[in-house]
Amino acid sequence: MFLKELSLRNFRNYIELSICFNKGINIFIGENAQGKTNLLEAIHFIHSLQSFRTQEEKSLISISFKDALLSAEAERGGSIINVSALLDDKGKRVKLNGKKIGKTSEFLSRLFAITFSPDDLFLIKDLPSERRRYFDRAILPHSPSYLKTSARYDSILEHRNRLLKDIRDAKKGADTAALTPWNEQLIEEGTRILLKRHQFVEQIKPFLEKFFQSISKSSKRPILIYETQLLPPLRDEEALSGVNMADEIKGIFRLSLSEKSREELRYGHTLVGPHRDDFQFLIDDQKAKTTASQGQHRMIILSLKLSEAALYKEAFSEYPVLLLDDVFSELDEIRAEALIEQIFDMDIEQVFITAAKKESVPFSNKRCSFYLIKEGTVRPY
């Protein structure tokens, strides 16, 4: 897929913009605070209906304006897709080929962007909840039901936590027998989440290793691990076989709930389940969190992004648009070159990159289109 045309009205520092893009690598050059990341954010928004910088969508509207309009023409598999999003104080209204759309999940199989932002580097060191949020979001295009399953799981969890507290505080009518139906549902929906996360991580693994080695020009092995107490020990051949695995997880889930039941009643809180899980990056079996360098963190996250793009391609037979914000700072020349080479090698249809200076971009003269960003204007460079 690729973006052919983008128009912005009152979006961040773009009061009025209309621009056409080429396939291949597009590079936005500009000094600080000119609007490079804002433009990337607009492109991300039109592909995923959300910002990668903020949940507060009102802040996307230019100061002293009431609404913002983004519209775009993209191409996917030879057919044209028109998208527009109007943002105002009532929220956002999105049209796909002139028709209103209800669910974001329907949209993600049509247009999609994978974005690297320097903020993503926190992923490795951040709290587990941030990592869960990240991977849950990454799973979404591959499983439209995942959002609803997660929402159901969260409500079950809330009910169960309240009940645990009520039992602890000896509130009337609250007894351990009343826990059973919430345990059953926690296990049921929790297992769905566990399976999806496990499958996603297993699918990412081979890509992650390949891309990391190619970008870092080393033979070090990065591994992404889904850290949970609830998966059965892995046996290679049946690692991904659905139904049996689900039954095994349910068995382990049930057992650990009963093991932790006294502790849960003491804390008044659910201590078992995918809401307690984490994701861990290792390099050569060492925790990246504590042992890897800044540069290695950056290369892990970049490899993760490329892996997500590759996985999307496997599922939907087209690459998503790849957006890389300020990707060259902190990468030495050799790694920066290796990254660009890897992107060419994958043959991703369209990539957008921001950089402060033209000189910092390796392969400057090769098949790249340059744009100069200055005070909310964009022109070929």
Partner: protein
């Protein structure tokens, strides 16, 4: 426009009803104002009668005017089956099918710890009495809503009912009949796939 006190009061009162906002309440109030005296009184009386004369059936908690509702006192009903629902309105929905000939039990609610509703706050005890008194009930069909609260209630009940030595069944999850598969949401489709049966 400044409105008369009584009119304003009626508008305020109507807005308590579910699904009625300011505008609809105004429309209804002005409509009532224009109505024939006898018609308007008829509506008022119907509301008063509803509150004065209707009560919950002492057996199944359905809405009734007598001690025991029409369904529970109907000798033609199959007394071997009891269908459990959350609200009296659910009973009306099932009665409309004219297919179910057994008895009902209305729980008047569902388990919901967040709202402080536990097993003792809904009509579970009455149901268990109906099962134990040698009334010859052979099957309890659980038709609570497919929400997490309804599902929790179903799981809780099924254990109690089975331990009383009676068959418990749960209505199936499925795609709506007569509609296109593509319009069913993903979770419904997944559940109906999981609940598939031999044909």
């Amino acid at each position: 426009m400044a409105q008369a006190g009584v009119l304003n009061r009626l508008i305020e009162e109507l807005m308590r009803l579910p699904g009625i906002g300011q505008k609809t309440a105004q429309r209804l109030a002005f409509f009532l104002l224009k109505m024939d005296d006898s018609e308007a009184r008829g509506i008022a009386r119907a509301i008063v009668d509803l509150k004065e004369k209707s009560r919950f059936c002492s057996v199944c908690n359905n809405i009734t005017e007598a001690e025991i509702c029409e369904i529970c006192s109907d000798p033609m009903r199959d007394r071997k089956k009891i269908l459990v629902i959350e609200e009296p309105s659910n009973l009306l929905a099932i009665e409309k099918t004219k297919e179910y000939k057994g008895l009902y039990h209305v729980l008047i609610g569902a388990l919901s710890p967040l709202d402080g509703i536990g097993p003792k706050d809904i009509k579970i005890e009455g149901l268990m009495q109906r099962l134990s008194n040698g009334h010859g009930v052979e099957e309890v069909i659980i038709a609570t809503n497919p929400t997490i609260e309804g599902e929790a209630t179903a799981i809780y009940l099924s254990r109690l009912i089975k331990s009383a030595g009676i068959k418990a069944t749960r209505i199936a999850y499925g795609v709506p009949v007569g509609s296109d598969l593509e319009y069913a949401d993903e979770v419904t489709l997944i559940k109906s796939l999981e609940g598939r049966r031999d044909i």
